[in-house]
Symmetry: C2
Subunit: 202 residues, 2 copies
């Protein structure tokens, strides 16, 4: 039995998604066979419109409906403080916490030599341009890349670049230590080490 082309096409599309293997791709495709055509059309339309109806903010590189984005064009935000993040999704996570009042800069990736991603492949240049622009008066940059090997390397690289551009700039790394709800018994030694050196006075 030859598998219908309509099915293999969709299986192949699903397989390209991260974390979806050949078996899950098949399962998702055959699941969709039981879904009404109206739902499929809606799904298809939302994929087609994803990039058409969104723009990347020319200031902070976040994904939004307008350029500049709703954060960069908000007068109540502190424009002198930039939080540097790896992905657009990270902005949503930080916004959910509701504590941060500065603006963002999204790198759209991390320096990852093993996957051929160098500093030119991510949006570091745009960050440097913001820092160099004296009119903006940036005072602090919080490096909030992920606490992974690649994220740390990216933060270190950017910190070095920033220092060479502006010596008065405050450059910080997002706090490291035990996350809420963690258990010291199960914490790894690197995290405990960083939790100790990052201890704070009451």
């Amino acid at each position: 039995m030859r598998i219908p082309k309509a099915i293999t096409n969709l299986v192949e599309s699903f397989e390209r998604l991260p974390g979806v293997g050949p078996k899950s791709a098949q399962r998702l495709t055959f699941y969709l066979l039981h879904v009404p055509q109206g739902e499929l059309d809606k799904f298809a339309l939302s994929i087609q419109k994803l990039k058409v109806d969104t723009v990347i903010c020319s200031i902070c590189q976040a994904v939004d409906e307008s350029d500049p984005c709703s954060i960069c064009s908000d007068d109540r935000r502190d424009k002198t403080m930039i939080c540097v993040l790896e992905e657009p999704l990270d902005v949503l996570a930080l916004e959910k916490s509701g504590k941060y009042k500065g603006v963002y800069h999204v790198l759209h990736g991390r320096i990852d030599p093993l996957n051929n991603i160098g500093p030119e492949e991510i949006r570091i240049q745009q960050l440097m341009d913001r820092i160099r622009n004296k009119d903006l008066g940036i005072r602090e940059v919080i490096l909030a890349t992920n606490p992974t090997m690649e994220g740390e390397a990216t933060a270190m690289f950017i910190a070095k670049q920033l220092k060479s551009v502006n010596r008065e700039l405050r450059i910080t790394r997002i706090g490291r230590g035990l996350p809420t709800g963690a258990d010291i018994e199960y914490a790894d030694s690197t995290t405990l080490d960083q939790a100790l050196s990052g201890r704070m006075d009451y």
Copy 2:
């Protein structure tokens, strides 16, 4: 920051898929933001065309490009033997083994009272119609529903129905026991029990 509508739409569509939670749906959506528009259009088209370009075979209820499907219209297949399966995907799995030369019947589900799926919701009636049609001369029905509680119940229900329709029909259940590559040490007791009672002479 309000999340753009184009993004929430796609996140919601992904969330409806089985095994995709809110976090994975977000991750998949933001992954697609880095994918070229051409690929997105292809993905969208394959979703839209999935049901348009496939039909359900009026004989065996399998999903194919033509009706009757390539198996039901193949003269080399033994039309007197029907293998009953839960899902269209199961046909592909059996065809891959390449051993089975009969035809199929796809139920499109299983009897599952906890989820309000009774015998009328799956395609048992169409199977009975095939059995009742004396011109087809069906000799054997292999019940190959999944070895789960719902699959077993479905097989038992169908076996009872079949017996009442045709007393001469051979009704079999797909063999149960240890799968290739399994380890007796780790096998569960039900499987071992069935492997023993299903033992075969050398």
